[in-house]
Amino acid sequence: MRRIGVFICHCGSNIAATVDCAKVAEAARGFPGVVYSADYKYMCSEPGQEFIKAAIAQEDLNAIVVASCTPRMHELTFRKTLANGGLNPYLFEMANLREQCSWVHTDKEKATVKAIDLVKMAAAKANKNEELTSSTMPVHKKALVIGAGIAGMQAALDIADAGHQVVLVEREPTIGGKMPMLDKTFPTMDCSACISTPKMVEVAQHPNIELLAYAEVTEVKGFIGSFTVQIRQKAKYVDHDKCTGCGLCETKCPSKVPNEYDLGLGQRACIYKPFAQAVPNKPVIDPLHCRKLVDNKCGLCAKVCPTGAVNYQDAERLFTDTFGAIVMATGYDLYPWEEIYGEYGYGRFPDVITGLQFERMVNASGPTGGKLKRPSDGQEPKSVVFIKCVGSREPAKAKGYCSRACCMYTAKHAHQVLDKIPDAAVYVFYMDVRAAGKAYDEFYEATLKDGAVYLRGRVSKIYQEGSKLIVKGEDSLLGRPVQVTADLVVLATAMIPSQGSRELAQTVGFLPDLDGWYQEAHPKLRPVETPTAGVFLAGACQGPKDIPDTVAQAGAAAAKVCGLLSKSQLETNPMTARSNPAICSGCGLCVAVCPYKAIQLISLADRDRYGKRINRTVADVNHGLCQGCGACTVTCRSGAIDLQGFKNNQILEEVDALWR
């Protein structure tokens, strides 16, 4: 028989103001199995926990109910208290009198009645709770980081500096992501390349980091501590062991195509490095445009290469490795505004560009050598219009969320135009100016002082008149339509999850949010973890953010990874699903609903009722992957699957108690 102790927490006045805690404690004494009850101001405090431990010893308790806040807050705290008091931690049960009672009610009398019911249910479950024990599994002391923007590079460096092995996978021919494309960074206006390219070099040279550029993750199996991952590296057609990076091939290649790195503003050869400081600093061949690979003509690069590094027969390579942890750092892309903004010309006007194109243009190592030029005629623009929230905060057309970095980078761009072309007129159409950040608002104020004209309102139309762009919009502060004649228009387009990120999440085994951003396990308390154990988040893949936030998050993810990799074994969560093969029909419904890909159908040797040997299909739960969500248990028709710690009979006991 259980000897249950019930402890009612006041949570200061959070609970006590709305619930009569002494009365609840008194009522609890009448519940089956309850031999002791008490109430106290802060159960989670040290004296509170000591109080529970003392009661366990004095009253010979063998099950505990604490009625306080949400289990998300303190379940773990009290489980530890039990363990310290000599009880199995899973003999603990929690009733939530705060979020589910005092915070949502005002009538103290009724709230007290409800609180008594909640405690009654918890005590009923405590009667049925069983001792559970964790097992252990090994941890492979190696981390995988996917995406090598500033987020992925920072996370990889932090993990590697702590002494762990890291494999960093980047799908482009160079690492760096967006940051080295930028010219200067707000609010300090320090040179973006000067702070990002040294990091790229550090990554390449770090003894604990293995860099796989031009590669993608194609398959992930296993679970926390032991993910088996397949990585496919695209054919580079250049042997990077032989190549010295001299660049002769690039200068001789006769075919030129628009350079993706300059977002179409410049050209590159078909054997190329995306930019001069690329890492690896060795070229690849673009198989879609190279004449040799397309038509079997040319072959000039192989002829001029002094080390014989060009290899037109190169093929993709597959790698398989095992990792203890995975960091997602796939960053963002920009909304394809050309597809939906008919009022801005659907991309028909060459002098309507995006903020990222502007970055390439003001960048000294960009296609114009840092000179602001209109793409149409190369003239210096004298009137520049910036439009914010193109695709962001626009739920009717595109995305409802704020892209967070645009207010600041637009202020930066406005400042840069006025800095380079002092007699230029600069207009910024805005909805709000969101400059929350250290020294951010001051930066915006300085841009106003520089002479940028901020117009509060949306732009309804852009069209071309001769060589000029006519920008029509509204000044909603004056309540008047405005029209500006511009030489160049720059759109602050919405950030969206990087292309292919949804499929990648599926491969790794977790679900993105509705907009496609990678969902954190808890928005406040577990911001760098995914719901899938052992998979962490860094940077803009989790949601739009600027570089300071990205780097901070990457560091946090790295700390989590280091914490994990510092152990050689992991305790498993014992609250996982168990399938009873005797009554499982092998229907597979549980396989389909499991969000963690933790259930498989296996073949089981058995005998039929005549004693004949047969093979039956049954569900089998992988306890490393199972997170104990319980989705399978409610889908199971025969009740063959049961969740430890939340067994069907335990839950039904609670329901029964409510009506007893």
Partner: protein, 293 residues
């Protein structure tokens, strides 16, 4: 194909040549237009600026008559009538109470079941461009034309179901099929000022001027419209615009069905080209050797 046809007041008066051309085109393409018997004015701007219920009841009566005659589709050539009919149908579909109220007011059941189409959509979306192409005997080769839609055919898009409220292409594709060269320009869906030219001429004329200016800047030989009031503003007022802005616009303006009729081999005498204010004679001379004129 058979449609209930709601010409509306303009097509009896200022836009009479639009009506003639519409019927010629329908005859050639094998479209049967049956005029709604005993139709009334849709109420246009006057009704919806005075009384909301009146603004809904007036079009509802016409649509109810069409329904009573078993028509599933109603063709509306005037953009303003089209907008009023569409709004009425949408309002009635959204509210069973309103449906009862309206039916009571007009003394007839209006179920809002029929599909309401602008005449531009009837020709451009429902008829089939291949079918139209077969009837083209006199392609308007070399005619650089600005397809002008105005506001009411495209906005609000959830009511009008326009193919694209920022850059509609229905008329452009039609004009292409009859051999003309529709231009990409920027004022396709800007407002012509509608009746505002009368009470606030400075404002209304500026709007018309800007449309003409943009079309001219892209080298348009002519403008095609799908609304009798847009037509009137763009065609009749060019003289006034020139006087006010010191410009020299002389851009022929056509109802899109007039251009279709021309391409189908009809001559200008067959429809109302002579009623236009800006003469199209020399343009047609240049284009199709005067056969149209």
């Amino acid at each position: 194909m058979k449609y209930a046809y709601y010409p509306g007041c303009s097509l009896d008066a200022t836009g009479i040549e639009y009506d003639i051309a519409n019927k010629l085109v329908a005859r050639t393409l094998g479209i049967e237009l049956v005029e709604i018997p005993d139709w009334n004015c849709c109420g246009a701007t006057s009704a919806h600026t005075t009384n909301h219920l009146l603004a809904l009841a007036l079009p509802a009566r016409n649509l109810a008559i069409a329904e009573a005659h078993g028509f599933e589709q109603v063709a509306v050539p005037c953009a303003a009538c089209f907008a009023r009919c569409k709004k009425t149908a949408a309002a009635v579909q959204a509210s069973p109470d309103l449906q009862v109220q309206i039916s009571e007011v007009i003394g007839m059941t209006y179920a809002a079941k029929s599909e309401i189409l602008s005449y531009l959509d009837v020709i451009g979306k429902k008829t089939g461009l291949d079918h139209i192409k077969k009837h083209v005997v006199q392609p308007l080769t070399g005619l650089k034309i600005a397809a002008y839609y105005g506001c009411l055919l495209v906005r609000p898009v959830d009511i009008t179901q326009s193919d694209d409220p920022e850059n509609p292409m229905v008329m452009d594709r039609l004009l292409q099929v009859i051999g003309a060269e529709p231009i990409a320009w920027d004022y396709k869906t800007e407002c012509c000022g509608a009746s505002q030219v009368v009470p606030v001429p400075q404002l209304g004329k500026k709007l018309i001027h800007d449309i003409l200016k943009n079309a001219a800047s892209y080298g348009a030989d002519a403008i095609a419209t799908a609304c009798p009031l847009c037509m009137l503003n763009l065609d009749m007022r060019q003289k006034q615009i020139n006087a006010m802005f010191g410009t020299q616009f002389h851009i022929p303006v056509f109802h899109f069905t007039e251009l279709m009729a021309l391409s189908f081999g009809y001559s200008a005498q067959d429809f109302g080209l002579a009623k236009h204010f800006e003469s199209a004679e020399s343009l047609l001379e240049r284009m199709i050797g005067g056969k149209g004129a």
